[in-house]
């Protein structure tokens, strides 16, 4: 039980750290657009060109 004397102040430090991260992420605008990144990852132009796919499937 004595470990609580260490763990509880530690949890306070953790909460402080979380609040700081939250502040940083809000200030850098990460919460301004919550829809965009979700779409952006779907729309990334990393899909292979269609003709390459057909060549591959013919082999």
């Amino acid at each position: 039980m004595e470990s609580l004397f260490l763990l509880i102040p530690l949890s306070l430090v953790l909460v402080g750290l979380l609040a700081w991260i939250l502040r940083w992420s809000i200030k850098s605008g990460q919460f301004d657009d919550l829809d965009g990144p979700g779409h952006a990852i779907l729309m990334d132009d990393d899909t292979p060109a269609p003709q390459k796919v057909s060549e591959h499937s013919q082999k």
Binding site: L22, G36, L42, A49, Q51
Partner: protein, 826 residues
């Protein structure tokens, strides 16, 4: 029998044939007319296009390897302008590189002389569109950085002015099939962003505090047997976490409460924040005293939870409110940024394209058909017709003679006209309406919401109960008076009470958004229940505001209806008059192929069109008799050398779902008023046609505003629906107002909610849902009250353990939330 069968088979074959023949444009997906087909090879396949513009766009997109756009988009684009085929920046965009406009729309960024600008994208239909714009801009030389916001559809571009320019950027966006206009970042926008971020951070801190304090309170909830030194440790850590929640997160609540108390002498009203601040302060002080004394409950969990929930509700409300455009931004969108100025008029017909801000009264402007008049002025050359429906509510185009006034914001639809400027910018008629809108928003009666009233009563009752019982205890046993005061204050579960309204509102708003109604200001659902009068605008609200071909009459023998229609449509091709567009729509809907006219079409100004022996136009010009029919939008007649061939009758169509909507409204004993800027006869006809008793025609925006003000003076609770610029002050003044989404941006700026669906049916459903929401809010409040009436006396008599109170509190909150959840299904 066999004949019939043959006919059927023939029909089927015909259908298949037409499907095969119907080539669809690769970019804009419209059917390609046989003579207009262009083919181009893209990505190893021949693709059909309807026009050089579409081909240019598709080539640009493919050329940059962005063709995945065509697979991912959910809706196809509009037909673009023809000038996109060339790589030249069009004249109308060039003025953006003029120092006066560039200075307004760009700001220096970074040390290398880079400029930064914010553009607002138009014609965006899906996420794929936004992605395409971003990728295309990034591939341009000189563009350093692109940041795009999917929600607000704004792009921030940082570019080097040596390699590219503002006009070039705007043109590049047009080249892939969209439009953009530079956006003047105002201080209010900056402030809105700051406000949003601050509230979010306050909410985050309160949430973190709530979670952590509840964790420390867990041993008390479950009644764990812990030693006193740990209890003190947990208590003080909770206190440490509650302080930032009280000071930082709840700070604005205390400030608002203090302001409300200070201004009590003038207003004789205490704001909602006063009881909240009082409860928070009392609970915190009591908790701290208990902590120091080492006896009793500390209440820190209740405090943090209460603050977190209140801030969450406020954050949701703030987001919705900020989504609505401000009046100034809407006004900017309504007027063009550039215009065509005639130099040395009338000696020379030389035209230069200049920013509207650089124009002065006295100068002469040319306005082409299809363009928006940029300033107020007087028509000096070429009679024309102007669509003033957004400004005045007048449904038909207004014929303008030399010397007539023309107003900024109206559409020129007939001939290229010349006008002399009398007023630009802030002194125009439309800017006047915008400022009336701002006044109206200030004059709007403040609705005291049901929840606020209940909470005020509840808190008053609670404070009275707490102080009364502690006074009684002071008389019998002074040592317990303080404990009782605090236990009464806190055993009353503020959570269920604070959750009762926001949860129901959030669930109901989610449901109506799915129906097609976007709620901007929070009180709409509550206001709908209270409404006693509904004020409707006619053009664009009650009706669609555009004529539809109703029937073809006076058809001469030997002509089929389709032939006459096709002939008329061929004559009207390329015209922008609403009746012309309507004829074209009717011809397209019936899949008619238009005949080629042997002679060019001549536009007989103010009368009609002619091509060889064919003439299409007004009854007076063609010298035919027109059977007058009230409520009609108009008639157009087609004649050749032998006389009348056919007459086309047009009718403004009522908006879909109108009948059902009015039925629901009337069943609730809401008086319906029709107030329109259109002429009296048409308004009377429509009012009788759809069954509305109160009506007034020929109204100016000021008349409409007064109409509402008069109703409000009679203590009526007014609900207004409108769409035009002329409705903006009315919408802003009404107790609750809904703007039709397809209407003017300025109308949406004054409204409490925006109808995004084209039918009125969602409103009928919303009304029913509003009833249900109100019922559920009442249930929730009754539940919270009943729980408190049981819990408080029990707590007073010391019958409730802390953990029983904790479970009771959680169950109570859960019941309220689940009850509200039922609204989502509607």
């Amino acid at each position: 029998m066999s004949n019939q069968m043959n006919e059927q088979i023939n029909e089927q074959i015909n259908e298949q044939m037409s499907k095969k023949n119907a080539l669809v444009c690769y970019h804009c997906s419209i059917q390609i007319l046989p003579g207009e087909l262009i083919e181009a090879e893209l990505g190893g396949e021949a693709r059909p296009f309807c026009c050089p513009g579409c081909m240019a766009i598709a080539q640009t997109i493919h050329g940059e390897g962005l063709e995945v756009f065509y697979a991912r988009r959910s809706q196809s684009g509009d037909k673009p302008a023809a000038y996109l085929a060339s790589d030249e920046i069009p004249e109308k965009l060039k003025p953006y590189d003029d120092p006066s406009l560039r200075g307004r729309f760009t700001r220096p960024s970074g040390g290398e002389g880079d400029l930064e600008t914010t553009l607002r994208l138009e014609k965006i239909r899906c996420a794929a569109c936004v992605w395409l714009c971003e990728q295309h801009l990034r591939r341009n030389a000189g563009v350093k950085d692109v940041q795009i916001n999917y929600v607000t559809q704004k792009v921030m571009v940082r570019f080097s002015p040596d390699k590219t320019s503002l006009a070039r950027l705007l043109f590049e966006i047009e080249r892939i099939g969209y439009e953009a206009w530079p956006f003047e970042p105002s201080q209010s926008l900056d402030r809105a962003k700051k406000e949003r971020r601050h509230l979010l951070l306050r909410l985050g801190v309160a949430m973190l505090g709530m979670m952590q304090v509840m964790m420390y309170a867990w041993p008390t909830y479950v009644g764990a047997d812990i030693t006193p030194e740990f209890e003190i440790l947990l208590g003080w850590t909770s206190w440490l976490l509650t302080v930032p929640v009280m000071v930082y997160s709840a700070g604005p609540i205390f400030q608002a409460a203090w302001r409300s108390v200070q201004s009590f002498k003038q207003t004789h009203m205490l704001g909602m924040d006063v009881p909240i601040a009082l409860a928070l302060a009392l609970a915190f002080i009591a908790g701290t005293i208990n902590l120091v004394a080492g006896v009793g409950h500390t209440y820190f969990d209740s405090i943090t939870m209460f603050v977190a929930f209140i801030l969450a509700a406020r954050y949701v409300e703030l987001l919705a409110r900020q989504d609505a455009q401000g009046g100034a931004e809407a006004l900017a969108k309504q007027l063009p940024a550039t215009c065509e100025r005639a130099l040395n008029y009338p000696a020379l017909q030389e035209i230069e394209v200049v920013p509207v801000v650089n124009c002065n009264p006295g100068e002469v402007l040319r306005v082409s058909p299809g363009e928006v008049v940029p300033a107020d002025g007087v028509l000096i050359e070429n009679v024309s017709a102007l669509d003033e429906s957004l400004l005045t509510g007048e449904s038909k185009p207004v014929e303008k003679k030399i010397g007539d006034r023309v107003y900024a914001g109206t559409h020129n639809i007939l001939n290229p006209l010349f006008m002399r400027i009398e007023a630009v910018g802030q002194s125009t008629r439309i800017a006047g309406i915008a400022s009336l809108l701002d006044q109206a928003l200030l004059a709007k009666p403040v609705m005291v919401s049901l929840a606020e009233k209940w909470t005020a009563y509840f808190v008053a009752f609670l404070l009275f109960g707490a102080f009364a019982s502690s006074a009684i205890w002071l008389y019998f046993d002074p040592s317990r008076a303080w404990t009782v005061l605090v236990s009464v204050l806190v055993a009353s579960c503020p959570c269920a009470l604070s959750l009762a309204v926001p949860t129901a509102m959030a669930a109901a708003q989610g449901a109506v958004t799915k129906l097609g109604l976007l709620i901007v200001r929070g009180h709409v659902m509550e206001g709908l229940v209270k409404a006693t009068d509904l004020v409707l605008d006619k053009t664009g609200t009650l009706t669609m505001g555009q004529p539809e071909l109703q029937e073809v009459i006076n058809l001469r023998g030997g002509y089929r209806r389709e032939d006459a229609l096709a002939l008329a449509a061929a004559l009207e091709a390329g015209q922008r008059h609403p009746l012309a567009l309507s004829l074209m729509r009717a011809a397209t809907a019936e899949n008619l192929s238009l005949p080629t006219l042997s002679e060019p079409v001549i536009n007989q100004l103010g009368k009609g069109l002619s091509s060889g022996e064919y003439r299409l136009g007004s009854a007076i010009w063609l010298e035919v008799e027109q059977s007058a029919q009230l409520g009609q939008y108009g008639q157009v007649h087609l004649a050749d050398a032998q006389g009348l061939v056919a007459s086309f009758v047009f009718l403004d169509t009522p908006r879909a779902g109108l009948e059902q909507f009015l039925k629901v409204v009337k069943s609730r004993k809401i008086a319906v008023h029709l107030v329109s800027g259109d002429d009296r006869a048409t308004v009377v006809w429509w009012a009788q046609h759809v069954g509305i008793q109160h009506y007034q025609g020929g109204c100016t925006p000021e008349d409409k505003y007064d109409y509402i003000a008069r109703l409000q003076k009679e203590n009526r609770f007014v609900w207004a629906i409108g769409d035009g610029v002329n409705d903006a002050p009315l919408l802003a003044r009404a107790d609750i107002s809904i703007a039709v989404g397809a209407g003017a941006p300025l109308a949406a700026a004054g409204a409490d909610a925006i109808l995004t669906a084209s039918s009125l049916e969602p409103l009928a459903k919303t009304l029913l849902l509003a009833d249900k929401t109100q019922a559920i809010i009442k249930e929730n409040l009754w539940w919270a009250l009943a729980y408190n009436l049981l819990a408080i006396p029990a707590a007073m008599m010391g019958l409730v353990n802390p953990w029983v109170a904790g479970i009771g509190m959680s169950l109570s909150s859960l019941a309220v939330t689940l009850n509200a959840w039922r609204l989502r299904k509607a």
